[in-house]
Each structure stands twice: as structure tokens, then as C-alpha cells.
Symmetry: C2
Subunit: 125 residues, 2 copies
DNA sequence: GTTATTGTTAACCAAATCGTTAAATATTCA
DNA sequence: TGAATATTTAACGATTTGGTTAACAATAAC
């Protein structure tokens, strides 16, 4: 049976982990295959400890698994949290992908107009 | 022509804005229609200034437009940044939605195995 | 066994985040 | 006009974040 120890990490940590450009770059890099810490650090102009901290943030968000191999630490992406974030956003997908031409904004406008009409009727002036 | 002044806000601000449960709750609430600041604050047990700050974060991320109407401020969701975040995640969607049964992880495992073989051959012991 | 290499941890610092309470602003109501 | 309502701004504090340099640990290589 497949390992089903899944990312029980919450959206707070996931979105926060994705909110830094270096960490997103690391995710992008790992999407193309595993890499060592040094390889992940190489494109960026910050110190190695800084990268180490970013990796820890990704790990705490469940996005990363690190496995020591000799003196090298190999990093593997875990996409489950990405799927979790994607799932949250998907709930609102219809709001920008409606094929009825900006349906959502029309709804908003309609309600606003309705309220303005109410106000017009409410105040005598 | 439709207004195309679009959310030029970067992913940093968008993901950071979504990284707090109160702000996500506000987004969810606004997805159902506009609301005033007071209405948005009501479900939460933090002070009004705290809510005001959250709204500012959402506004800075382009997720929110606020329009004063008398003494209430009406808040409207702008979904463009959600779409932006969704778009970023979509690039990796194949990694968890592949229909070949965990293709991505097999790729990772395969590469790792290959490396282990290389090492086996490299070291004489 | 020393020396390099790879990476983490510790200690520190500046800035940002998230909350508070108190005061200020603006609008409506009586 | 004055009081109530809705919301923001100011000032403060605790915690977190994101970076640094220096020191440490573990493995590999000579």
C-alpha cells in the first residue's frame, strides 16, 4: 500500500511559505527534480544559512522532504500542500472564469445599485 | 471597452495576504457579495483596528476595493489576484493530478536510485 | 590524521506582522 | 447643536521574519 502520511499542514503555513520569491524559486527548481542544498542555493545571492532557513520554512509547510546522503542533503518536493492551496483557490475559480462576461462583478454592481436605490428611497432629501 | 486596470500586484503580497485565517475568511465572505467593514469584522473576535489592518493588507495585495458610502465603507472582492495565485499553482498541477499513478514521485525516486547506483560504482568499498 | 566540503546551529539585528487601547475623523440622527 | 455610529490612525509591545557572520558537526578526500 502506498504511504498515505499526508501533509496535515494548514493553509497558513503553506501560503506563508509561498509568499517569498526565493522559496517559490526553490519550489520551481524542485518541480524539475530533486536537488541538494548547495544546488538550490546556487542561483541566489543570499548566504547559505539564509537558504537553510528557507528550506526549514518549506519543510514545516510540508512542501519539502530532506534526506541526508553522505555529506549532501537531498531535497525532494512534496506537492500535497500545493494541491491543498490549489484546492482552496479552486473554490473561487468561478469568480474569474465565468463565461457569462464578468458575472461576478455584475452581481456586485447590481447589489450596490440596489442599495443605492434603497438609500434614495430612505432619505427624503 | 472594459476596464483593464488589472492587479499588477506580485505573488509575494498575494500569498502573504492569503496566509492569515482572518483574511481568508474575509475573502470567503466577500466571495458571497459585498460587505461593510463592520459586517466583515462581526464574525471575528479581534478588535476593529485589527480588522482594519487586515483589510489594508488585502487592499495592498489588490484583493479588495473599498468605497466609502456615507459613514460605512463598502468592500468588494477583486478576484484577479486569486487568479494570479491560481495561475502560479497551475504550473505544477500535473505533479499531483497525473493520471499515471504518482508519476512525479516515481520520477524523484528513480533519480535518487540512479544517484545511489552512481555512488555505488564510484566508491570502491 | 589532517584538510576540504557540505550543511546546520547560534547569536545577533532590522524590519515586518499582529494584536492591543486611546484618540481622531466623518457621517448620520435626534 | 450635540450624541451616536462607523471606521481609521497613532502609539505601543510581543513575536516572527529574513538576513548576516562565526562557530560547529559530519562526511569525503588526500
Amino acid at each position: 500500500m502506498v504511504n498515505r502520511t499526508k501533509a496535515l499542514v494548514d493553509l497558513d503555513a503553506i501560503f506563508a511559505a509561498l509568499a517569498h520569491p526565493i522559496r517559490r524559486a526553490i519550489v520551481e527548481r524542485l518541480a524539475g527534480g530533486d536537488a541538494t542544498v548547495g544546488e538550490l542555493a546556487e542561483p541566489h545571492k543570499v548566504s547559505l544559512p539564509a537558504i537553510s532557513k528557507h528550506l526549514r520554512v518549506l519543510e514545516d509547510a510540508g512542501l519539502l522532504q530532506v534526506e541526508p546522503e553522505g555529506r549532501v542533503h537531498r531535497c525532494q518536493l512534496d506537492v500535497a500542500p500545493l494541491s491543498t492551496a490549489f484546492g482552496w483557490l479552486t473554490r473561487y475559480r468561478v469568480l474569474w472564469e465565468d463565461r457569462f462576461g464578468r458575472l461576478a462583478e455584475h452581481l456586485g454592481e447590481t447589489r450596490k445599485t440596489e442599495r443605492k436605490e434603497e438609500q434614495k428611497h430612505a432619505r427624503k432629501k
